[in-house]
């Protein structure tokens, strides 16, 4: 027996209304696949907003610290040089000249760190297999996934009847 039942829709609004009515019948929705971000869907499904922005901040903070420590070591501690008479006894004296690279390095690490975290969290990496249930969910169709194990109290026919009422173009199992 297959693990999940899917309902396929050809319109985002019909799908969102469908999701609402499925949830009101106490059927749990495992996931929804769509070709583009459907706004407001996260509230219907009760999905928590992502914390990726926080990770970007933390990567940026790390980079900022690293850049300042690095430049302090290179230019003040390890090999101080008289460059155009710029004072370099302490970091704060030479700091104005270090701001551009501190900024660039912060952006570099925040952006790349967040992008890598994003790819890992989404399980999208080179060589990964696609897991969308129907090829048209990346084109113009929207798909609701109902996991059998999550809805053990419901029979197949009950689930199918509820899905049928939401005007899908197709119901299939996989």
């Amino acid at each position: 027996m297959s693990k999940a039942i899917y309902a396929l829709y050809n319109d985002d609004e019909v799908m969102v209304d469908g999701a609402k009515s499925i949830l009101s019948k106490n059927i749990r929705i495992k996931d929804v696949y769509s070709p583009f971000p459907v706004h407001g869907l996260e509230n219907v499904l009760g999905i928590k907003w992502t914390r990726l922005a926080i990770t970007a901040f933390l990567y940026g903070l790390t980079a900022l610290t690293l850049a300042l420590i690095g430049m302090w070591f290179f230019m003040i501690q390890d090999w101080p040089m008289n460059i155009g008479g710029k004072p370099n006894d302490f970091l704060y004296q030479n700091l104005p000249a270090f701001i551009p690279i501190t900024f660039e390095f912060t952006v570099l690490c925040a952006a790349h760190g967040m992008a890598i975290t994003y790819l890992i969290r989404n399980k999208t990496l080179p060589g990964m297999k696609a897991r969308n249930p129907h090829p048209r969910t990346t084109d113009d169709h929207f798909c609701i996934e109902i996991d059998r194990a999550e809805n053990a109290g419901m029979s197949d026919d009950e689930i199918r009847t509820v899905l049928q009422e939401t005007n899908p173009v197709e119901i299939f199992e996989k």
Partner: protein, 456 residues
């Protein structure tokens, strides 16, 4: 469902459905290229090869093959570098700044503008590389532990800031572009019938599934990357301008440079986007998505930034007189009336005078006029960099060392070659990559599509 005011012109013309958008954007990728594509591609590749030949010649023989002399010791190399970096500013500006401002018209143009950015920055990065003379020592620009005791790079120098700025800008733009491409590659993957293209796009799409949480993360990443890229765009060209502004050469030593260079970069970048997209919309039949309205919006940005550049030129000129610094005053008199007057006045005409025609709505909405004027801007902005660099150098403090710059065939070959490489890359992009952010476009179809707007 979000609705949009009826007075706003639709951004997607015609009776389009979600599926039509997929079909229209995937058509160039799935179909065969036409005759014109092959003709233009062949020419670009030939020009590119000539450029590569000249680059290899430079690397083999040294930069003595260029027309530099002891007075004008920096000329076309840095001119081309700044020109390409400037062009590379529109892509990230369009996708990042316009995303933060929630401008929906960006969606039709951001993908190709970002591609253009990446290719332009590659062309730009080439010049500092080869102008070092010994490119195999290019890694010396990074602070690597070394056997000289360890002697570090100079973090006080704008040239080093440039290394960090350009590499950050390039790699962040690349990541921003690619993250947007992943869902669109998935669309092509799920439609592909031939096994080779199926495999290629499976790898490129990283196994994208498009589930609800993935899209939430996608939106968050796009937003935060846009927030990071926006100050980056401004910082990069400010730093490029500091290569000049922190020196003591009259004509370079100007505090107005950072904002003036940033405005100029946006100006030239939008002009290049305009040039490329007006061709692309015709060749790839994307008239429903890249509309006259889009061209008009870009023309508005061009006329605004062009006027900012114009104000900068005039204030520079005024300050050179008002400051009472005779060297500064001479540098500017020499620019306008000296032996390089023709370069100065080409710059003035192409950057300040002709873009003012865009104040007329008829001209702003005429595609032919937009195309011609965008070429003018491209030429004018190249002359701007040439004027700043060469005219400030060629009349030294000692009249006996005054000289002129004469480009050799290598100078010309490398410059034209980078244009060839740029177009080769762009043409390949237009054949194998989705040129519009097709999945993002679908999200505005119901609010900004012509057929949906008529129903409400």
């Amino acid at each position: 469902m979000q609705r949009e005011s009826a007075i706003r012109e639709p951004l997607i013309l015609g009776d389009k459905s979600y599926h039509d958008i997929t079909e229209d954007v995937c058509a160039p990728v799935e179909g065969k290229a036409n005759k014109y594509w092959y003709i233009v591609f062949s020419i670009s590749v030939m020009v590119a090869l000539w450029g590569v030949g000249c680059i290899l010649y430079t690397i083999g023989r040294g930069i003595g093959t260029w027309g530099l002399n002891t007075t004008v010791d920096w000329a076309w190399d840095i001119t081309n570098f700044v020109w390409w970096v400037g062009i590379g500013h529109a892509g990230t500006l369009i996708s990042a700044v316009l995303l933060l401002f929630r401008q929906k018209w960006r969606m039709a143009i951001n993908r190709s503008a970002e591609a253009m950015t990446i290719f332009a920055v590659i062309m730009a990065a080439l010049f500092p590389g080869i102008h070092m003379g010994r490119i195999w020592m290019a890694y010396w620009v990074f602070p690597l532990p070394n056997q000289f005791g360890s002697l570090w790079v100079n973090f006080n120098s704008p040239l080093l800031w440039d290394v960090f700025a350009i590499s950050t800008y390039f790699s962040v733009s690349l990541v921003f572009w690619y993250i947007g491409l992943i869902p669109d590659f998935a669309t092509i993957r799920d439609r592909a019938v031939k096994p080779i293209s199926k495999m290629a796009y499976s790898v490129l799409s990283f196994g994208w599934t498009g589930n609800a949480k993935a899209w939430i993360r996608f939106e968050e990443v796009s937003l935060v990357l846009a927030g990071l890229a926006t100050p980056l765009v401004f910082s990069v060209h400010s730093i490029v301008s500091m290569d000049f502004a922190t020196s003591v050469i009259p004509g370079w030593h100007t505090t107005i440079f950072p904002p003036y260079f940033v405005a100029g970069a946006i100006f030239s970048g939008f002009a290049m986007v305009q040039t490329l997209l007006l061709i692309a919309r015709k060749v790839l039949s994307l008239e429903s998505y890249i509309t006259v309205q889009h061209a008009e919006y870009m023309n508005i940005v061009i006329v605004i930034t062009g006027s900012m550049v114009g104000v900068a030129y005039l204030s520079e000129l005024f300050i050179s007189w008002y400051s009472g610094v005779e060297y500064e005053g001479y540098a500017f008199m020499n620019r306008a009336t000296g032996p390089y007057w023709w370069a100065y006045w080409s710059m003035m005409t192409c950057n300040v005078i002709t873009p003012q025609l865009f104040w007329f709505k008829k001209i702003r909405r005429s595609l032919i006029a937009s195309f011609v004027l965008s070429i003018f801007v491209n030429i004018g902005m190249w002359f701007e960099r040439f004027v700043i660099i060469v005219t400030s150098l060629h009349r030294d403090y000692i009249p006996s060392s005054w000289s002129m710059f004469h480009p050799t065939f290598v100078d010309i070959g490398i410059f034209l070659g980078t244009i060839g490489i740029f177009f080769t890359l762009f043409l390949l992009f237009s054949r194998f990559f989705p040129v519009l952010a097709l999945n993002e476009l679908k999200s505005i179809l119901k609010s900004s599509g012509e057929n949906y707007k008529k129903q409400h």
